[in-house]
Symmetry: C3
Subunit: 347 residues, 3 copies
């Protein structure tokens, strides 16, 4: 996957203020300061690693304008305003080269219903299945083995990685990215006890992803019991996350890996949920709510709330409780000692 | 996915005691009271939302016989015995229309071994792979991209959603429903250290799902080391659940999303496990055991036990411990104050 | 899946010191002492189950040389040095028969890019997709529906079960086993807020699995932001595990089901992580670190550390804190009583 950049090419991409040193060979990889070799570009993003620059074997390094060092023999320093941002610019160019958008068309092995509407500018990969009534928007890309159910909609410029499943009637907005194995529109988990048996409650709603949503690998989103399970514009969901039926997630939220959100819960905009957090059903979380990793939330949280622990407690209190709970051995001893003193005093 | 019901049609489906008001257009959606529009059916299932009825724009509303209000202009009230149940009746009709059982047959793209036995009344979807010796029962439906391993058995009237994998030799009873991406029969996680290396323990058992079992999207069930991993009749398992090798789950259990059950553990009938709960290996849980969400269980639980927290504690005690632990700051202060009093008294 | 072994055949496989009793029919299954029938082989691996031998209906039983009992009528006792190990020998033979390596070749339905390099001794299953530049090593086996991305490498003698996805540029060493639905090389979860929006950070690195790695069903491993996400030689990862971008796992680790490891964290060799444990990002764990099930780790751990609980605490302390926290009701009462005594003493 190595792609070569010449030094002048890199200087242009990163908007270098100056280029110091000389490095004739092209740069073909990116690595950290300690791991980079002569073919690699590296960067000093965090000043605490400044001491690693002198020993780095990187062929080229992105550095702040005021970094005091000089390049080693055969090494290039690019002076830039923000090294991390400069690196992201390189990565963006690299990504566009490594993952060029496939040309419009269909792999001949794809099974596309004659009743589906596939925009001629979309790309349908090998062995995809597109059912009757499905709509694939302009510029959309479906990698191999995707399945788009009946009357499901994949919006313009979506990119579905291999093996993504969008079930019947569900809809994706523009520019959504779905990682391999993601499932949009499984049945909600709705059952009720009927005379000792468990009877399934039909799940006839859908899942709606707004524009610019990202769904992680093997993440599952359940269709609503009725109406819609909704993910708001720009929200990013990591791998192996469970979103239950009728959940509504606002805009620009970050939902980290292995989070679970139970049925009918509503999240505001800009919420951030740490990994493996769990949210019970029928709750309401305001805008900008944060949950720490592994938090177990069983109550509503107003806007800007930051909860942690199980059961979830406001962050500051939770931190204090953790500190105090670690002092329990000391507390038990102190109470025993007080009891002994009082006892002897009472004699 | 909108399907139109006329008002008389709906009245018949829900068994309305009476129909009040007039609404000429057909009803084509279902929504909550606050979200419904003139084309939607809504319902008042919980009396605490009664005040929402007057403001609802729903074209038709399911209400209890004794609800005091009157329909707005162009709105219909259906009076029924149980509005929630009436809604489920509508959803059932809707589901049957939205997901009609496909006609018997095979998509020409399916790869079916000549040594597999597929009942002529079964449906095999596009790009499915059915290996030698597999048996697909009468009325079974396999959506696109399913894989049925050698000598695996899919019972009568099972419905496997897209991308389900049933590995070699595993068996499914009648009427099982498997959501997209579910994996039945991955290798159990069995390894033992041998002279500094980790050696794999062969896993030669199978998974057996009894009748009427439901498996969620991307859930995984491991084959037994030997003999069988078993899921009892009518048990429902949600998304992203892990069932390890040699686990035995009883009948009519509810296993919520992201639960993990470690190897060789046995559950009785009618158990209910909350989301993200974890159960250690080689345990025995009696009938009707309940575990709260995120519980971490490391000990046996007798019938009717209700455990919560990590490590799991009987529910009542756990609730009390949570309350007391939040009073730790107060307790530490009180003990300090007692110590000071005792100290000054002792002077 | 039943395969018959004659008694002399079994005696040879297990290296029996002696064979007692007579059983004319072949043995065709393996089961525990309590569940075995006349066609089954069973074993006494743990002396605490010794009393079950006399009542067992097993046709043949593996027993220690010094076990005092005698076989029942029509039953065979195999005397061996280590019954558990003897059983593993039988399972190994059984596994080799039940899962014979498919002959070299490609199923005609597989879509193999003419620019891919597939070793002639490899097996490519039905409906697999192998993209341009991919390399499939000698002896590798890909079951149905696998997807190997552009320039990805599958090493010699790997076995990929159905529906495995290896994304572009990622590489697998020799003899890796990947269970159904595993995803290697999804995008890392990298986003940064830019003026109220969340912008995606391109993820241009890869995933590298060293030799003899095992990946569980529906487990996900993310490609690095740049450079590599690494799993060391011989490490075994269970089902539904999340390995984030730039994580580096050492050799011979055991990562149990539903564990999550956040970005850029490094694990040493021989680490063991219990089920559902979570490890925060940018941490360093030394060799032989152990984490209990459901542990939430937010700090570095030196070699040989054993942590438990959330937030993770050294195991011994954590056990003590759990015991003390269950005595909180008693402690609160005691402090109240001390306060009352002091109060009355002060009067």
């Amino acid at each position: 996957m190595r792609i070569a950049f010449s030094i002048p090419e890199l200087a242009a991409i990163v908007g270098a203020r100056s280029v110091e040193g000389a490095h004739t060979a092209p740069v073909s990889g990116i690595a950290s300061l300690t791991e980079a070799g002569p073919d690699d570009l590296s960067f000093l993003g965090n000043p605490k690693y400044a001491s690693e620059v002198a020993a780095s074997r990187a062929g080229a390094i992105l550095l702040a304008v005021d970094f005091p060092g000089k390049p080693a023999e055969g090494q290039v320093f690019f002076r830039v305003d923000k090294p991390s941002y400069a690196l992201a610019l390189v990565c963006s160019v690299l990504e566009a080269r490594l993952w060029p958008k496939p040309p419009a068309g269909r792999h001949p092995s794809a099974i596309v219903s004659p009743e589906a509407k596939v925009d001629p500018t979309a790309f349908i990969g090998a062995l995809c299945v597109i059912e009757a009534g499905a709509v694939i928007g302009p510029g959309a890309v479906l990698d191999a083995h995707c399945h788009i159910g009946r009357q499901a909609v994949v919006g313009p410029d979506c990119w579905l990685k291999s093996g993504v499943k969008v079930a019947d009637f569900c809809t994706l907005g523009a520019r959504c990215r779905l990682q391999p194995g993601a499932v949009v529109g499984a049945d909600g988990f709705g059952f009720e006890p009927v005379q000792g048996d468990i009877r399934r409650i039909p799940q006839v709603g859908i899942v709606v992803l707004d524009d610019d949503v990202e769904i992680g690998a093997n993440t599952t989103l359940d269709r609503a019991r009725f109406s819609r399970t909704v993910v708001g514009r720009g929200t990013k969901i990591d791998n192996l996350v469970q979103i239950a039926h009728n959940v509504r997630i606002g805009r620009q939220c970050l939902i980290t890996a292995q989070v679970g959100i139970a049925g009918s819960t509503t999240l505001g905009d800009h919420c951030v949920l740490g990994g493996q957090a769990g949210v019970a059903g029928h709750l309401t979380l305001g805008d900008r709510v944060k949950l720490g990793a592994q938090t177990g939330l069983f109550e509503d949280v107003p806007a800007d709330g930051f909860m942690n622990g199980t059961p979830a407690t406001p962050f500051g209190l939770e931190r204090r409780l953790v500190v105090l709970s670690r002092r329990l051995p000391e507390l038990f001893k102190k109470v025993d000692s007080l009891a002994a003193s009082l006892d002897s005093a009472g004699r």
